[in-house]
């Protein structure tokens, strides 16, 4: 099962490498990883996705928590949450018919064409990972030149929040 784990981390040198190292050391995979400072620049917020059953997720959370630099860790998948990922896709689009087809496809997925040349469209899309996967499937035949995905960011729904 896919897990979205959210971590509040001291924004210090070496902290990120400890998180990543832990996954390698314990034999867990990281599927996606995003990290950036928060409104408080002494803190980083890190979201990572991995696969695992409940027991494995519990171990991962505990192991992450044990790192000295981590302040809070939650497995967002346990409760209701919002998951977002940003994707940029460069597509082959020289044929006018294809350009039209692409445009309608982008609209259906509520994306934006953010750059255009005579032979390409660059599309920006946000949503959960499944939606981005679905878009890729929809345009695969047309000709994908490049895909850049940000990895998942997540936040819990409702009154719960992760803060010091």
């Amino acid at each position: 099962m896919k897990r979205i784990i959210s971590i509040l981390l001291e924004n210090e040198s070496g902290a990120l490498s400890r998180v990543v190292g832990l996954f390698a050391q314990r034999g867990y995979n990281i599927d996606t990883l995003t990290v950036a400072p928060t409104d408080d620049d002494t803190l980083s917020r890190l979201t990572l996705t991995t696969q695992g059953d409940d027991q494995m997720a519990e171990q991962i959370v505990k192991q992450l928590h044990k790192l000295i630099d981590t302040i809070k860790v939650v497995d967002l998948t346990v409760g209701s949450h919002i998951e977002r990922e940003l994707m940029l896709v460069k597509l082959k689009a020289s044929d006018p018919e294809i350009r039209a087809e692409l445009k309608s496809c982008v609209e259906i997925f509520r994306g934006h064409v953010v750059d255009v040349t005579a032979s390409t469209y660059t599309v920006q899309l946000t949503g959960d990972s499944d939606k981005l996967d679905a878009f890729i499937d929809a345009v695969r035949e047309i000709g994908i030149m490049e895909v850049v995905r940000s990895g998942v960011s997540g936040i819990s729904r409702g009154d719960k929040f992760l803060r010091v």
Partner: protein, 578 residues
Amino acid sequence: MEHLSGGEIVIRALKDAGVKHVWGYPGGAALHIYDALYRQEDVEHLLVRHEQAAVHAADGFSRSTGEVGTALVTSGPGATNAITGIATAYMDSIPLVVISGQVPKAKIGQDAFQETDMVGVSRPIVKHSFLVTRAEDIAETIAKAYYIASTGRPGPVVVDIPKDVTEPSYKVPYEWPSSVKMRSYQPTNKGHRGQVKRAVKSLLSAKQPVIYSGGGVILDDASEQLVKLAQRLNYPVTNTLMGLGAYPATDRQFIGMLGMHGTFEANTAMHEADVIFAVGARFDDRVTNDLNKFCPNATIIHIDVDPTSISKNINAHIPVVGTCTSVLNEMLSIADELATEPDTKAIDAWWAKIDQWRADKGIYTASRYEPSSGDVIKPQDVIKVLYKETKGDAFITSDVGQHQMFAAQYYLFDKPRRWINSGGLGTMGFGLPAAMGVQLAHPEAQVACVTGEGSIQMCIQELSTCSQYNLPVKIISLNNSALGMVRQWQDMNYSSRYSQSLYEDSLPDFVALAEAYGHVGIKVTRYEDLEEKMRECFALKDRVVFMDIVVDKSEHVYPMQIPGGSMGDLYLNKAEKN
């Protein structure tokens, strides 16, 4: 406020952290620190002969006292030589601070001379690490390092300091922080009261209980509480390799070590238990044997200060996160409040079973090996003689191999912090430097290193350090002319194909070697001489003595768990299985 250079701050901060001894080895990147060391008398430095030994010595010091051990090394090869020592301490949760010099900040990343990314290299084997980038940060970082190393689940902390940060001409105000607070690190001490209560109730309702206690009890100095609880309940106690001494081995309720080379009675009692009370133990694979066959009928109560140890290998039915001391104390007081007594009838019946196992197949009740005689000295008998000669009250360090298991089985430890071995990493070479650390901490005590002719050669250079600092450790080398434990596995699993476990005729003359270092060497080849020579060895109070004892090559360590089996599936000797 006083102004000090970075190098001076390192030493002053060590003093303010309560450090009296540092084990180390100098080199370019650490020379400003070494110069500061030279100009003071508060912190004594002991010069080893290899950085691995510096860390093991600091480790032995820590294990025998409970204090944080300290080592100081230079960058590059100094730092990498320390790695085995750090990993050894990490696996056994030993609190250490290892300070390493680093190339100047401006050179980091340039592949500079003697540059190694110490924080990177040590990352998977430290509790935490710091790279200090300003002289102003040294004191606080060192304070944090000692705090982190010694609290929660203890462990080694690396402090890597670039040379320019210790520059003598740059002086900054020095202040030792009066306390350390970290928002990201707040270890749990007290167990959850509801859980503790559940644990007590479950324990009191047991009919076939076993108390399984590990190194955590020793690290947290909770032996007294463990003994109180066990004796109040009259339940059997087994200790892990790391936990030996936490419960007195000569007490009736002690059923021996458990696990791969544990006693028949301990392993069988575990397998048949209805409640297992694990305290400061971690269900290591050298204990459990096949996880799927592990203790099928048992409710597991597990106390540990480290939440990641709980339900990692074996699911705990009643987990309690907290220090052994505080949780055991709370359990004792809850047991008083509840005023429920254990089921004495069931417990008596349980003891009758255990006593029968002990009588039939225990290693203490009758000899489980052929007796020694003439020129055949059984390694087990060496440990028994050592035990007798030291009245069971010595500090015993050990290396890794058959000799280690014989020592663990046959030296009956009645006190915690007396049995000092590398249990988790299994580091050959640990014994001698660890013994130096123990001897330094306990100058009047008898300190013996039980070793093999293989292991001792991994840090033998430390015989020189023993001379320099008058550390009169006794080396009890069980010489079976082989990497005995390897050979045992080759006998059992590889049809006695002794691939690279023999030395042909290349072993040194250990007596002459000891003498070359200025020590006493004693060779023993006949059983009838053993006691007398051992007495001679310990009579030489102020000397390092190297006992080269030629033991039976063919001996195996038994009992031994059968791979893939349950805890109770054991080879009892070469012919007998259970």
